[in-house]
Amino acid sequence: MHGLICKTLEEFVIDQHGPQIWSQIRRDADAPYGRFEALRNYDAALMLRLMDASGERLNRPIMVIFEDIGHWICTHPPLEQVRRLIRFSGRTFVDLLYSLDELHDRARMALPGIDLPHFEIAEPDPGIFHVTSQWSFPGAGAVLTGSLRAMADDYGALVLIDADRSRPKGDGWTDQVTVQVIEHAFHAPREFTLGGVT
């Protein structure tokens, strides 16, 4: 399990619920002492224990927490760079949806060794998109749902998003997320210049 993913859960819990709760979760999950390092690898079983422990301590289904994490990584100001990286996917929200099948490879290019979900996109009816994920963990659909909600806002699009429960498939898990794009330009998008901010 790439440390970046463990670290994301850690930073989210600390930011939203405080360091004490995170210490409890870490103890519950029998995690090693200290903070997670984004550039190290961790045991996948540890991540599963942390997910269970987080659900228990925060008293919410882990998939609801994952959806919040998806939204948080796109909107939390110190993570502005993540939002920017996602905006490179395309000019419009629909471009972003159609670039999700490149996400796994894009992430690999930036950080070899990271295992992000594989996504496939279909548009069975105009304006209706089915995004199917395949990942070694459950919850890719939940995280994507949260992120797409945030990014729709960023692009100024009005959308409805629904996620199915994760189902086991092959060695991992699959999810399906349905996105209905109601209005492409519902409000003005947030600014995005390619050269970055100086």
Partner: protein
């Protein structure tokens, strides 16, 4: 032969310039026109400067150079700050029918600055232009590098803490035996600085541990550490090298009389009763002293063992005193008499 409407060309290649046979710029790609606005009567020499290779901007000169990459600057580029250079672009010239030339331009290795300067967005690039992916990669790379820098800072901090802990006596906060060995080895290596070495062993300490317990003993040791720290200068080295043993190094010290005075003062202060929960703990100290300038050849092991011998001389003669070691000369051990305080 295919015909393309110039307006389609301008859309497919947003960084192109179409030059007529007489050198007039008849069409410009949208992005290029945004960076450097051009008028209908502009000629090639009004718009471009060829910098590398450097040659005059005319059509014949350009026709001779359609086989290689050229570097150009746009003469009408906007938004250039006072101390800034014009953006340098790469360009390739393609001869067309009727003497026209198509110039296709692109940004150079790091397009970041030009993009910031002209506030370009994905809309300013062709959908299939990999420049946007290059920029994605550059930003992702920055994120990863920043994280590596942070990681490296944290590791450095952890290393320093570990080093500090490894060199510190936990109870008293003084340096420990290991730190003293390293320090002496370093002094010996430098061979320049003279120094004085003092070895202190507490007297009657064991009876405090035995009668009042280890907590009282620990309290006394902390007090002793406080006294020793107060009696030395900031750059002197004080270490707890054993249960009730201490070593002190006085850097840059050549006067044995100064060492004697300090030893006497330390013993005087140690003999003041130390309070422990209403009990007056009474201790004293025996000290052995040696100086680096007693020796022709600096061997720190020998200095330590001489200071140690002098310390036991103090013990033998009734404790609560200091002794200055005189190193063995020609096989004969010379030592001045211990002085009671």
């Amino acid at each position: 032969m295919i015909g393309i409407d110039p307006s389609v060309l301008a859309k497919a290649m947003p960084m192109m310039l179409l030059l007529e046979a007489d050198g007039r710029v008849s069409h410009a790609g949208a992005t290029l026109a945004r960076i450097a606005p051009m008028g209908a009567d502009d000629g090639i020499a009004d718009v471009l400067r060829f910098v590398s290779p450097n040659f005059a901007a005319d059509m014949d000169a350009l026709r001779d150079r359609t086989d290689r990459r050229l570097k150009v600057e746009l003469l009408r580029e906007t938004r250039i700050g006072a101390d800034e250079r014009a953006t340098r672009l790469r360009c390739m010239a393609f001869p067309l029918a009727e003497g026209r030339i198509l110039l296709n331009l692109s940004f150079s290795a790091d397009p970041g600055e030009a993009l910031r300067r002209h506030r370009l967005t994905a809309q300013d690039f062709s959908e299939v232009d990999p420049t946007v992916d290059l920029l994605f990669l550059k930003e992702a790379h920055d994120v990863v590098l920043t994280e590596f820098e942070r990681l490296s800072d944290r590791l450095e901090q952890a290393r320093r803490t570990a080093e500090e802990e490894a060199a510190t006596d936990k109870l008293t906060g003084l340096r420990n035996r290991r730190a003293m060995d390293v320090y002496l080895a370093r002094l010996a290596d430098s061979r320049k600085q003279p120094f004085g070495l003092m070895h202190l062993d507490l007297d009657f300490f064991k009876s405090i541990n035995d009668s009042l317990g280890h907590a009282a003993g620990d309290h006394v040791l902390e007090e002793v550490a406080r006294i020793l720290r107060a009696e030395v200068r900031r750059d002197d080295m004080v270490a707890r090298t054993g249960g009730d043993e201490f070593m002190l190094v006085f850097a840059d010290c050549t006067e044995v009389e100064i060492m004697r005075r300090i030893a006497a003062r330390i013993i005087g202060r140690l003999e003041k009763p130390i309070d422990w929960q209403g009990h007056a703990c009474r201790i004293s100290g025996s000290i052995g002293i040696t100086m680096s300038n007693f020796y022709d050849k600096l061997d720190t092991r020998r200095l330590v063992s001489d200071a140690d011998r002098a310390l036991y001389e103090s013990k033998r003669c009734g404790r609560a005193r200091h002794t200055v070691a005189v190193p063995t000369i020609a096989g004969r051990r010379v030592s001045d008499a211990p002085r009671p305080v």
